[in-house]
């Protein structure tokens, strides 16, 4: 019997995973990450970044060239069968059978999981109810909408009560309403105690769902942290404003004194840009200083970096030759 994982141990722990397809496509180029149970961890990256490859390794579908991976206290490379009793996987495409009913699909997975016929039936009914598909459970899946298929696929991945759930781009190709429903469902799973590792190309999704985000590109984690931490790496908010040309010189000095940073005049937009270390407070301080000098600023904006900015900046500075595929 293996020892149960120590409560403080990370539930997923990956060290220096490398995987190469063919000669020189390094899909994973030394990925390391670790996170604790009970959260959503989002892998954020563009197409071909290595997200799916990493999920496939953790879900025991792919053996990497080197490195190690532990999931729920099990070494997935040494004991894949054991690892499979602790994980659930919903891949990029809903892997459900069109000609079976929703209930039959989930029951089949239960039977394959090793449940008896009666247990599989009970479990399928419970999950379908929890996931809001009871009414459609007796219909063939070919009559389902795209969002329903995704939910059914998620249901199938929950049959074994996984400790860790892997979701590969769970909402790609789903309309906004269904996406919001799936987000609610995923949060619900986490509240029930499941840990979720999901991949996404959508910054909003990572921002909304995940406690921690790993930005992945060219097979490497290039940045990691909470959504706020990632935004902070860009240096916080910026204040942008314009003043009448005759007040520019005075305004520049006032802003420098008020905020402690040299304002930069963008020659094209003719607007000042200056860091606002305290966000809205800095904005107020700057406006008061200008107002006291009788300068009325125009078109004032406080710009907070979005995850998009983080993402674009991170993936931009990571100059690497495009890998031929």
């Amino acid at each position: 019997m293996p020892t149960p994982p120590h409560p403080q141990d990370p539930i997923v722990e990956v060290h220096d995973l490398v995987h190469t397809f063919g000669r020189d496509i390094r899909a994973l180029d030394g990925v390391s990450l670790a996170f604790d149970a009970g959260m959503v961890y989002a892998l954020l990256g563009p197409n071909g970044a290595g997200k799916t490859t990493l999920i496939r390794v953790l879900a025991t579908l792919l053996r990497p060239d080197s490195g190690s991976a532990q999931v729920a206290g099990v070494d997935v490379l040494a004991h894949p069968t054991r690892a499979r009793t602790r994980i659930g996987l919903a891949g990029q495409f809903a892997a459900v059978d069109d000609y079976l009913t929703g209930r039959e699909n989930v029951r089949m997975i239960g039977r394959l999981y090793g449940l008896s016929g009666a247990e599989a039936k009970r479990r399928a009914d419970d999950i379908l109810e929890g996931i809001g598909l009871t009414d459609a459970a007796s219909r063939a899946v070919k009559t389902y909408s795209g969002g329903m298929r995704r939910r059914l696929d998620l249901a199938a991945s929950l049959v074994g009560r996984p400790q860790v759930l892997f979701l590969d781009e769970p909402t790609t190709g789903i309309d906004p309403r269904n996406r919001a429903d799936l987000w609610t469902l995923i949060r619900q799973l986490v509240d029930d105690g499941t840990t979720v590792l999901l991949t996404t190309q959508y910054l909003e999704e990572a921002d909304r769902l995940a406690e921690r985000i790993g930005v992945i590109d060219h097979g490497r984690i290039i940045s990691e942290g909470t959504s706020d931490e990632l935004k902070d790496t860009l240096g916080g908010a910026m204040l942008e404003l314009s003043v009448e040309p005759e007040h520019r010189e005075a305004a520049q000095g006032l802003l420098r004194d008020a905020l402690g940073d040299e304002p930069v005049l963008d020659p094209e937009t003719e607007r000042f840009r200056v860091t606002a270390p305290d966000g809205t407070r800095s904005l107020l301080v700057a406006i008061r200083a200008l107002d006291a000098a009788g300068i009325e600023p125009d078109d004032v904006r406080l710009i907070k970096p979005t995850l998009d900015d983080v993402f674009l900046q991170l993936t931009d500075t990571d100059v690497q030759p495009e890998v031929a595929s």
């Binding site: 879900a59 025991t60 069968t81 892997a95 039977r111 929890g130 619900q188």
Partner: protein, 284 residues
């Protein structure tokens, strides 16, 4: 909303094995077999087209060629008598392509990934697929025989020998399923598989004794035709269903049946190993 993932019970001993116990592997095979068969039941058009084609072959060959060929056959056999045992093999061979198509479709849709992420015997994907195809083949062959019976086919030996003949046809279909599984895992794209599966089957079926005796073929072709498994098994089935005097001189029914069994076993053994190896390779 009920809790979807209540705290799992502590892992039981059976959950923590590194191998799935045989009993569960057998259950998984049956579950997947049932799933694959249900597809034929729920999408009846699949089965309808899978049966129309063989029946068409049977009717066309019999009524188009039967008159011209009749008379020239050994023992003055009616053409339907010659054709029917051969067609069993032809249909088994053509039908086996379904194994490759089914596997590649599952691969393409991510179904095989889902199965492989479960704590089940991985081999069940292959055993369940080939078993379902065997059952489907048994259905199609039975239907063919019934149509054959309507247009005049009669077996002339005992029921046991007749059943043994059917057994050989099904055994060959099963062996070919493994060949097709291997091809499917090598080719992997649904569109390409469609044509790839016919490549090995076509020359083997036509350069054989399925439709006609091999005597009139050019020597080089006849040398191939007489020694390839489809001729050997077609002859064995003919001998079992119609009697030894339909066989070429020097051959006995039991001899041909034994060589047939050897071919079927060898093909099954070699290609099941190849298919499993190829299947494993998908994961690296």
């Amino acid at each position: 909303m009920t809790a979807l993932t209540p705290t799992p019970p502590p892992p039981t001993a059976s959950q923590d094995l590194d191998r799935v116990p045989f009993g569960r592997a057998a259950t998984a095979t049956l579950v997947i077999t049932k799933r694959n068969l249900l597809r034929n039941v729920r999408l009846p058009q699949l089965l309808v087209f899978a049966t129309i084609q063989p029946v068409m072959f049977l009717l066309l060959f019999n009524f188009v060629f039967g008159g011209a060929i009749g008379g020239s056959l050994p023992q003055g056999l009616d053409y339907i008598q010659w054709l029917m045992p051969g067609l069993l093999i032809q249909i088994a061979a053509f039908g086996s392509g379904q194994t490759a198509l089914g596997l590649v479709e599952d691969l393409d849709k991510g179904v095989i990934d889902r199965f492989r992420s479960l704590p089940m015997a991985r081999s069940a994907v292959l055993t369940g697929r080939t078993l379902a195809d065997l059952i489907r083949n048994a259905f199609v062959l039975t239907l063919m025989l019934s149509v054959g019976f309507l247009i005049g086919f009669r077996w002339e030996t005992g029921s046991l020998r007749f059943l043994a003949g059917m057994g050989l046809a099904l055994g060959f279909a099963y062996a070919l399923s493994w060949v097709m599984a291997t091809i499917g895992f090598v080719v992997r794209t649904p569109e390409a598989v469609q044509s790839a599966v016919f490549l090995p089957v076509f020359p083997l079926v036509f350069a054989s004794s399925v439709f006609l005796p091999t005597e009139t073929m050019p020597d080089w072709l006849r040398a191939f035709a007489d020694n390839q498994p489809i001729t050997i098994i077609a002859n064995a089935i003919r001998g079992l269903m119609l009697g030894g005097d339909t066989l070429p001189a020097g051959q006995t029914v039991s001899g041909q049946a034994l060589i047939s069994l050897a071919w079927i076993s060898a093909i099954t053994l070699i290609f099941s190993l190849l298919a499993v190896r190829q299947y494993r390779r998908i994961s690296s």
